[in-house]
């Protein structure tokens, strides 16, 4: 049985990965597109967990009980702004959606905004879970 010649040696592979990382870093540093990785921030995650927990309790028929969720999202927003978090705009949009859900007179529209906001929380979770 003939031995197959490896297409890439380990050295070539490492060189390619290093070059790729370097070029990608250069691209990101010059583009400023808000995707530069950030480290795990336990306080930020703690604020996120509190906001998500309070958000999960929201009921469009009991809007007078939304204060805790508002406060939790406001704290998360202030913390994310202070830390220049990449997701600060997403958190602001969560706050805006809460405003829209609360001010509408239609229960159905309120529920629709809650469902959309749930997806914004999902995106936050994806990013925060991935950080080291």
């Amino acid at each position: 049985m003939n031995e197959k010649t490896p297409i890439y040696t380990l050295r070539q592979r490492l060189l390619e990965i290093s070059l790729g990382v370097f070029l990608l870093s250069l691209l990101l540093l010059t583009s400023g597109c808000g995707v530069i990785p950030q480290k795990h921030d336990s306080s930020l995650v703690s604020h996120y967990v509190e906001a998500r927990y309070e958000f999960g309790k929201l009921n469009c028929d009991k809007k007078e009980e939304w204060d805790k969720a508002y406060q939790a999202v406001a704290k998360l927003q202030i913390y994310a702004d202070t830390r220049l978090d990449n997701n600060a705009a997403n958190i602001k949009a969560i706050k805006d959606n809460l405003d829209k859900a609360k001010t509408t007179k239609s229960t159905l529209v309120c529920q629709n905004y809650i469902k959309l906001t749930e997806q914004r929380f999902e995106l936050l979770e994806k990013v925060y879970r991935n950080r080291w």
């Binding site: 490492l14 990965i17 290093s18 790729g20 990382v21 990608l24 870093s25 990101l28 597109c33 808000g34 995707v35 530069i36 990785p37 990449n86 997701n87 705009a89 997403n90 949009a93 959606n97 829209k100 509408t104 239609s106 159905l108 529209v109 629709n112 905004y113 469902k115 959309l116 997806q119 914004r120 999902e122 995106l123 994806k126 990013v127 991935n130 950080r131 080291w132």
Partner: protein
């Protein structure tokens, strides 16, 4: 429009944010057709779905870059 609905139905399969957004768009469309929400409300909801889709792309890029950076650290 039928084609657009079929495409959305194809995307709406799965557990991703993109799939959930597709399901929500279909749901909003039905609500609008049944007269449960107004045109203005429908348009604003669609605008928000588009904003979430853009945010999904950005966070996916951020996750990808984080992974690449961590791989780079392992090489160092």
């Amino acid at each position: 429009m039928v084609n657009a609905i079929e495409q959305l139905q194809a995307i709406a399969v799965g557990q991703s944010v993109e799939a959930e957004i597709a399901r929500l768009i279909l749901e909003f469309h039905l609500q609008y057709q049944r007269g449960e929400i107004t045109k203005v409300e429908y348009d604003f909801l669609l605008l928000e779905t588009e904003a979430i889709r853009r945010e999904d792309s950005r966070t996916s890029a951020e996750n990808l870059v984080t992974n690449v950076f961590e791989l780079g650290k392992l090489l160092a």
